[in-house]
């Protein structure tokens, strides 16, 4: 029903620029997750799409129409807030009906639309209650119901699950995804939780310090992180990063370990290896001084330092091995397939072979 485009969107507060030119094209019915650490400008970005923040420069287009100067109500969007922002003195029914009432929708139609949304969200029996009498998950649903009844072109979510407990969060995550598919609306979802981002999004926008780091599908981000920041941010436990010196397709890590990367480069580089891509191999180049094991059942996390020939550059390393490993792994070698190595230049940009 709607496409959203951001064209070199910038936002400044006074002389402080918090968003430095963001370009994104969102297709119809796409679920976009904006993810990044706190203070990276992701909420500001969402609020600019909503019209709650003014645009400093650049354009926000909804369905190819420039909406920079439009009030939020004229943008055909609905927003779900982090703290739900339900009107405390109104019943659930009135909370959901409020926007329709303002729009002057006939009473019968309001009733029908609210009841349908309530049914969809399993809120029918709570319609006459006040928000205070509901649990966190129910309030969350009411907030979504309020967004649904307006039949907006774009759904905006501002960290909607961060006030829920872990179990409910997983459940609501699935529900939000299902709902978005059923209703066939475009959605922009802001979160700092990378698991939420990976599971919900068709495509992810990774923001850091007001810069767009990468825009792509979750798997793209995992397999081919465009920058060092994305590489560290996506995936858990985080990717290991080793400093080294490249020479042709070989890299000598600071600890003295030589590995074959298969990617031509020269000078200082950073080599990234995901913990789950290490393979036990007695002839492997990586040797670990184990300091701690974490048994998770399905796999074992090995924390330690990279043992080098010189022993000077004691780089931290985390390895995730499938199955159960009890004995310390000192001396036992690890290797990584060259295709699982990521190479970054000193500025943090990805180097491709």
């Amino acid at each position: 029903m709607a496409t959203v485009s951001l064209k070199s969107l910038k936002k400044s507060y006074g002389r402080d620029e918090v968003l430095h030119g963001i370009d994104i094209d969102i297709a119809d019915r796409e679920f976009i997750v904006v993810v990044g650490p706190s203070g990276c400008g992701k909420s500001t970005l969402l609020r600019m799409i909503a019209g709650l923040e003014t645009v400093t420069s650049g354009d926000v287009l909804i369905n190819d129409e420039n909406v920079n100067q439009h009030e939020p109500m004229d943008r055909n969007i609905a927003m779900v807030f982090q703290n739900y922002a339900l009107y405390p003195h109104m019943t659930v029914y009135n909370n959901m009906a409020y926007s329709l009432k303002i729009a002057g929708t006939p009473k019968a139609e309001i009733k029908e639309r609210v009841e349908r949304a309530a049914q969809l969200l399993q809120l029918t029996e709570y319609l006459q209650r006040r928000p205070r009498q509901l649990s966190g998950g129910q309030r969350q649903r009411v907030a979504m119901g309020r967004a649904i009844v307006r039949k907006p072109a774009v759904f905006l979510f501002d960290e909607p699950l961060s006030n829920l407990d872990a179990k409910l969060r997983v459940q609501m995550r699935l529900e939000i995804r299902k709902l978005q598919r059923e209703l066939g609306v475009t959605a922009v979802y802001v979160t700092h939780d990378q698991v939420e981002a990976m599971t919900l999004g068709d495509r992810l926008v990774v923001l850091n310090d007001g810069y767009l780091e990468q825009f792509g599908s979750p798997i793209e981000l995992y397999q081919r992180p465009a920058t060092l920041f994305v590489a560290r941010f996506i995936g858990s436990p985080a990717m290991n990063i080793f400093d080294g010196m490249a020479d042709g397709t070989q890299v000598t890590l600071d600890g003295g370990v030589r590995i074959d990367t298969g990617i031509a480069a020269s000078g200082r580089v950073k080599v990234g290896v995901r913990p789950e891509h290490f393979v036990a191999d007695t002839n492997g180049a990586f040797k670990v001084n184990t300091s701690m094991l974490e048994q998770l059942g399905s796999n074992t996390l090995v924390h330690g330092t990279l043992a080098g020939a010189s022993g000077a550059g004691a780089a931290e390393i985390v390895v995730s091995l499938p199955g159960i490993h009890t004995e310390a792994m000192v001396g036992e070698g690890l290797s990584v397939a060259p295709s699982e190595l990521h190479l970054f230049d000193p500025d943090g940009k990805r180097i491709d072979g």
């Binding site: 909503a50 019209g51 709650l52 009030e71 939020p72 109500m73 969007i77 609905a78 927003m79 807030f81 982090q82 703290n83 922002a85 339900l86 009107y87 405390p88 003195h89 409020y98 926007s99 303002i102 729009a103 205070r132 309020r146 307006r150």
Partner: protein, 288 residues
Amino acid sequence: MGTVFGTGSGMVEKRGKALWLTHVCMIIAIAFICFPIYLAFVASSVQQSELVKPPMPLLPGSHLFENYKEALFTGINAPVWKMLMNSMIMGMGIAIGKIIISLLSAFAIVYFRFPFRGVFFWLIFLTLMLPVEVRIVPTYEVVANFGMLNSYSGLILPLVASATATFLFRQFYMTVPDELAEAARIDGARPMRFFFDILLPMSRTNIAALFVILFIYGWNQYLWPLLITTDPEMNTIVMGIKQMIPSGDDLRNWPVIMATALLAMLPPVLVVVVMQNLFIKGLVDTEK
């Protein structure tokens, strides 16, 4: 209450003598406060002749209804019902006017960005330091020039702006989450619609609490009505009582004066009793 003390489940056990002692103390204190009111009641139920001859009667007499009837419909300078009505209009006018003005000015200060917003707020805040008495002469001058002496507007308007109430509502609005205003904006509510549909219902307990305080404030105004009402028909009840008290060798009808005093106490008491639930809620609760 009694059972709580009796079973000794409180933090401090109170039994026997201690329990009696606290009760005796409380009863004495209450009697001390209530005795003058009781005397006024007795005085309003006897005849003038009984009252002036010592000893003063301590038991109610048989002329209660006559005295009250005389006070209400004849009075001394003006019938008391007229003064009660004047006070009621003044008290209500001040309370309602103050609430409306401070709700709106607090709304402007908290939710709108306009030049010198901070300056305006501090100007309002500064007037907290100026009680009616300080600005009474210039205010009188202004009211007199507008020809508002001996009128309800003259009684109400100079007292209708309230820094205290503005400040209170400002504090309340600032505790309302910003997201609520934003949600309303997305729902399509224009500022005044947001004010009436969301802010106003949310402030209702504060409004009730403030109404009680401001009504009593208005009802008890003494100096201002004394200055600007010269016509007995416009007297308010609180100053009216003062005008009734005889000066020099005048002989005045004390039972009627006492009846008037008791009548003057009734409306504030009623307001407090009727609104006490909301009043306490408004002071204690933050309903969010």
